[in-house]
Symmetry: C2
Subunit: 540 residues, 2 copies
C-alpha cells in the first residue's frame, strides 16, 4: 500500500530558503581585528545566490567539488549553503593537515575550485603546484595579494566575483540521497579518508541539533561556533542555525582565549561548541582576567573526553553548563549527548554527565566483543562500539575500507560499555586497548592515573608484546623539568589506583609524546619507536 504523502526531498536549498526568508533578521557575526562584522540571514540568502551564479560562471556544473580552505566566517557559511544548493559538492579542506595529506585529499576529491581566506594563503600557496584538478582560486575579500597561482589556475577575489551577480537563484530540486558535502578524516593511520554527506543526512542531522535530546538549538540562540567548519562540519551548527533561525557567531582565526573572551563579552552567545582544550584555555585565562560568561546557557564539548574537573569548574565558577557529547566525522558528527535523565540530581546526575551520553532514536548503537558477539547493555560489559543510522557513513569515498564496517554498521574503533538506559562510557580506542591474558586494559585509564602524579606532565600508554600475557602495558612519561621521580616511584603511586594485574611493568621517559596533525597522541608512532628500539625501557 502506498502512502499518500508528497514526494518532497530533504535539501540544503530548503534550509537556505527558510533561513533567508522566515529568519531573515537573524545574523552571522564574524570576528575581525577591529571587532564584529555582521550580515543578516536575508543578505546571506542574496549573497548565496550571487556565489552560485559566480561559480556557474566559472564552469562549475553537476556534482563538481568546490573546496574551502577557510576559518569560520560568514563567507564560509555562504559556501556551506550555496554550493550544495546549486547541486555541487562542498569539500571542507582541513587547514591543519600536513602538506602531503592536503595534496592527497584535494586531488582525490578532484576539487575544481578552492575558496581561501587571505590569512591562509601562506599555508595553501606552496601546495598549489601539486594540485592537479584545481582551475580556480577565490580569495575572500577584495584582494588576492600574496597568492601565487601556477599556470592554468585563475585567481579571483570573492567580492569581485559576486558583485554584479543576480541576488536570486533558481535552486534545482535535488535527489536527497545525492552528495552535498565531503570531509576527510584526519585519521592517525594511512591517508585521510573521505566521508560524503548527503542532503538527507545533513537535513536530518540539523533536525537533531534542534531537538530536545540533542543540543536543542533554538531560534533565540546565539551560537558561538568555535569548532572549525573544516572539522566535521562545525558539528552541524551552521545548517541547524539556518533551519531554526539561531544567530551564528564565527571567531574566524581568533581562537585564543583572549579574543574568545572578547567575542563573548561583545556578542553574548547563549550556546557554544568546541573541543576541551579550547575551554581549558578559556578557563585558565578567565582566572587571570575575570569576566561574566554566563550568557552561555550551555557549552557543547566533544572531540575527546571532557575532564570532569572542567565541567565542574565551568558550572561553579561561571554558571555555565557543560554538555558532553560523542561523535566523529563519520557520524556527521552527532552521536551521543550526555543529557542526564530528567529529575536525576547530585552524584548520579554527574555520573551521567561525565559519560559520553545517550544516542538519539536515529542512531542505533551496539557493542561487539572479540568473538564478534553483541555484548549486553548492562553498564559493565565492554566491546567495540558500532553505530548505524541515516547520518552515519557506510563507506569511504573511492577507497575500499571493508574492515571499517560490519554488516552495514560502522565500526567506530572506540571501546566502552553502555548502560541499560543507553548511556555510553568509552574507555579506549580499540587499537590502543591492551589485551593482557584475555582481559582488556584501558590505555586511557592508565594514562589518566599516571598523569595524576604531580611530576608527570604527559603520559601515553601502549601495549607491547609479552610472551606470557600476549600484551602488557608500556608507559611513556614526560617528567616535569628537574624532576627526580623514578619509574618505580610512579609504579608505586599507581598501586592503589588500578587493579594489581593492570600495574604496568614497562616504563620509558620521553622528551615529548609524539602527536598527530590534530594534536592527539600518536600511538602508532610510539609503537614504531618501541619496535625500532627508539625507547629506553625500564622493566620493573
Amino acid at each position: 500500500m502506498l502512502s499518500t504523502m508528497q514526494d518532497a526531498p530533504l535539501s540544503i536549498a530548503q534550509l537556505l530558503r527558510h533561513g533567508a526568508s522566515v529568519h531573515g533578521a537573524s545574523e552571522v557575526v564574524t570576528w575581525t581585528e577591529s571587532g564584529p562584522r555582521r550580515v543578516s540571514y536575508a543578505d546571506i540568502g542574496k549573497r548565496c545566490a550571487q556565489l552560485a551564479h559566480a561559480l556557474r560562471g566559472l564552469g562549475v556544473e553537476g556534482d563538481e567539488r568546490v573546496a574551502t580552505f577557510m576559518w569560520n566566517n560568514s563567507e564560509h557559511l555562504e559556501a556551506y549553503l550555496a554550493i550544495p544548493s546549486m547541486g555541487a559538492v562542498l569539500h571542507t579542506l582541513n587547514i591543519r593537515l600536513f602538506p602531503e595529506q592536503l595534496i592527497h585529499v584535494a586531488n582525490h576529491a578532484e576539487d575544481r575550485v578552492i575558496i581561501v581566506d587571505p590569512s591562509l594563503i601562506p599555508l595553501l600557496s606552496p601546495q598549489l603546484p601539486s594540485l592537479t584538478t584545481v582551475k580556480h582560486i577565490i580569495v575572500t575579500g577584495s584582494s588576492t595579494a600574496g597568492l601565487e597561482a601556477p599556470e592554468g589556475v585563475q585567481v579571483h577575489t570573492y567580492e569581485g566575483l559576486i558583485a554584479d551577480q543576480p541576488t536570486e537563484f533558481d535552486w534545482p530540486e535535488v535527489d536527497e540521497l545525492s552528495a552535498a558535502a565531503m570531509c576527510y578524516t584526519s585519521g592517525t593511520t594511512g591517508d585521510p579518508k573521505g566521508v560524503v554527506y548527503s542532503h538527507r543526512s545533513i537535513y536530518l542531522h540539523s533536525m537533531q541539533v534542534c531537538m530536545s535530546d540533542g543540543p536543542n538549538l533554538a531560534q533565540g540562540d546565539r551560537a558561538l561556533a568555535v569548532v572549525p567548519q573544516f572539522h566535521a562540519m562545525s558539528w552541524g551548527l551552521p545548517y541547524a542555525a539556518f533551519m531554526i533561525g539561531a544567530s551564528l557567531i564565527m571567531p574566524d582565526r581568533f581562537l585564543q582565549p583572549a579574543p574568545l573572551a572578547a567575542i563573548i563579552a561583545s556578542e553574548k552567545p547563549t550556546f557554544a561548541a568546541a573541543v576541551p582544550t579550547i575551554w581549558q584555555g578559556l578557563h585558565l585565562y578567565l582566572e587571570q582576567n575575570p569576566q561574566d560568561i554566563s550568557s552561555m546557557r550551555e557549552v557543547l564539548i566533544g572531540g575527546s573526553a571532557v575532564p570532569p574537573a572542567l565541567m565542574h569548574a565551568f558550572e561553579a565558577d561561571h554558571n555555565v553548563s557543560v554538555l558532553h557529547a560523542w561523535g566523529m566525522t563519520e557520524t556527521s558528527p552527532l552521536g551521543s549527548v550526555a543529557r542526564p535523565p530528567a529529575g536525576v540530581t547530585g552524584d548520579a546526575m554527574w555520573k551521567y554527565r561525565y559519560s559520553q551520553g545517550r544516542f538519539p532514536a536515529s542512531v542505533q548503537a551496539r557493542l561487539i566483543d572479540d568473538d564478534g558477539k553483541v555484548v549486553a547493555h548492562d553498564g559493565v560489559s565492554v566491546g567495540e562500539l558500532e553505530v548505524r543510522g541515516p547520518w552515519i557513513t557506510g563507506s569511504y569515498y573511492g577507497v575500499d575500507a571493508e574492515d571499517k564496517f560490519n554488516d552495514g554498521w560502522l565500526k567506530t574503533g572506540d571501546v566502552g560499555s553502555i548502560t541499560a538506559d543507553g548511556f555510553l562510557s568509552l574507555s579506549d580506542r580499540s587499537k590502543d586497548i591492551i589485551k593482557s591474558g584475555g582481559e582488556w586494559i584501558s590505555s586511557v585509564d592508565l594514562e589518566n592515573a599516571v598523569m595524576g602524579h604531580p611530576d608527570v606532565t604527559e603520559a601515553a600508554v601502549i601495549g607491547v608484546p609479552d610472551e606470557k600475557w600476549d600484551e602488557r602495558p608500556l608507559v611513556a612519561v614526560v617528567l616535569r623539568a628537574g624532576s627526580e621521580t623514578t619509574m618505580s616511584e610512579l609504579q608505586q603511586y599507581l598501586s592503589d589506583k588500578v587493579a594489581k594485574w593492570q600495574l604496568p611493568e614497562n616504563w620509558a621517559v620521553v622528551q615529548e609524546v609524539p602527536k598527530t596533525s590534530v594534536g592527539k597522541f600518536d600511538k602508532k608512532r610510539l609503537r614504531a619507536d618501541y619496535h625500532e628500539g627508539g625507547l629506553e625501557v625500564t622493566r620493573l
Copy 2:
C-alpha cells in the same frame, strides 16, 4: 557523486525499539474509573511484540489494515507502534463519524481486523453487519460482553489473544515510503477521504514535535494527550513520546472537565494538547473548583482558532502558557506553531501568539489569489494557503481529488495572510469567504463580531447570491431565550465594528446553527436551507 551515508530507513520499528529500551522506565498512564493504570515503555515494547505475534496468528500479512475504534489508552499506543512495525497499516477509525461514514471508511480501507474498547461496543456493534472486509474483532481487556458479531467474524479479547505470545518480535525492515497508518478526514463535504502516512512522514513529524520550533517535547515531559488518537494521530504525540522518552498520560473516555482536573491533579502533566473547547470547559470548571494546574509548562491548542481571551485566562489565572498551532489531518498534523520571535514582549508578542504561527523548515507555505498567482508575504495580502513538505499529503487514498492539489502543493482551503517573518493569520475557509464586488469578506470575522453582542449565543455567516455584488453576507443568529433584540439593532451594533461595505443586510433568526459530526458549523447545510427557502430572511 554518491554520498557514503548508510541506507538506514526511518521507521516506526526504530521508534519502538528505542523507546522500549533506552526509555524503558518512561510510562504510559491510562485513566480509569478507579484512577490511573500504568505501563512502562519497556513493558509496552513486550506487549507490542505479543500483539504483533497475535495479529500474525490471525492471518494479518503484508500491508493489510488493522483498525482501531478506541479512546486514548495504552492499548491504543500498542496498536500505534506494533501494527506499522510489523509492516501492516494502522487505521484509526473516528468514533464520532456518523454510522454511514464509519461504514464507508472501514469498507473503503478494507479493514481486516478492528480493535475496540468495551465502552465503544454499543457504537460499533450495530454497524458490524455492514462491514464487508472485517474478519476479526478484538475487544481490549478480558471480556467481549455486549459484542454481537455477524457470522464469519471472530471475536477475541485483547488480553486473551496476547497472553501466551513471545515478548520479542523480529521487526522487518520496511521501505520508509511505505504506508504506516491512515486516517480519514471528517470533511464537511462528501465522503471522508483517507490520508495515508508513511513511516518516513511519521518519523520526520515526530522529530519536529521534539524540536525547539515545534512543541519541543522532551524526555522529562509528561504529555497529557487529550486530542484523540483517532483525530490526526493525536497530533503526533504518541510517536514523539516514544522517540524522546516523554511519558504519556491518556484520559481514555474521561474527557469532561472534572475528570481532566482529577487527571492533572494526580499525574502532574508538564504538557498537554487539545482543541479549544476542552480548555474552555476546563477553565470554567476551575473557576468553580480551584486547583493548581501549573505543572503544565505549556498547552498546545489547535483544531480551530484559539480565542485570545482563553490564552490570557490560562496565563493570568493558572500560570500556564498556551501554544497556538495550525494543522490538519492532511498535514500530519503539525503545520505552523505560534512561538513568537525570541525577545519580543508585550502586545507585539501577543500578536504573534494569537496568530496561527510560523512554519518549520520542513513545511513550505504559499498564498494563492483568485487568479492563481502567488501573493506576497507582507502580512496584508490575502490568499488561499497551500503547503508542501515531506509530511503533507499529496493525494487521497483511492479517490481522485485533483482539485485539492496545485502542482504538487496541498490546497488547504484556508484563507489568510503571512508576514515577512513567516507568521500565518487565517481569516476564513476559502469556501466560506464572501466575494462581494471583487473584495473578500471574512465570514469568521463577521461571526465573531456578531457573537460579541450579549443577546447572541451563536452566529453563522454565509454568502448568498446578489445581483449587484455577486455575493453578500447573510447572518444566521441564535438569540438568547427571551431576547427581543431585533435584526436592525444587531446591524446597528456592528456599525462601528466592521467596514461599512461589509455590513450584512441579510439576517435570519434560527433555533440552532446546524453542526457537522465534529461539531463545526455546517455552512453547507445552512446554504442548502437558504436555497430551499428554509430560512426566514429579514432584508434590511
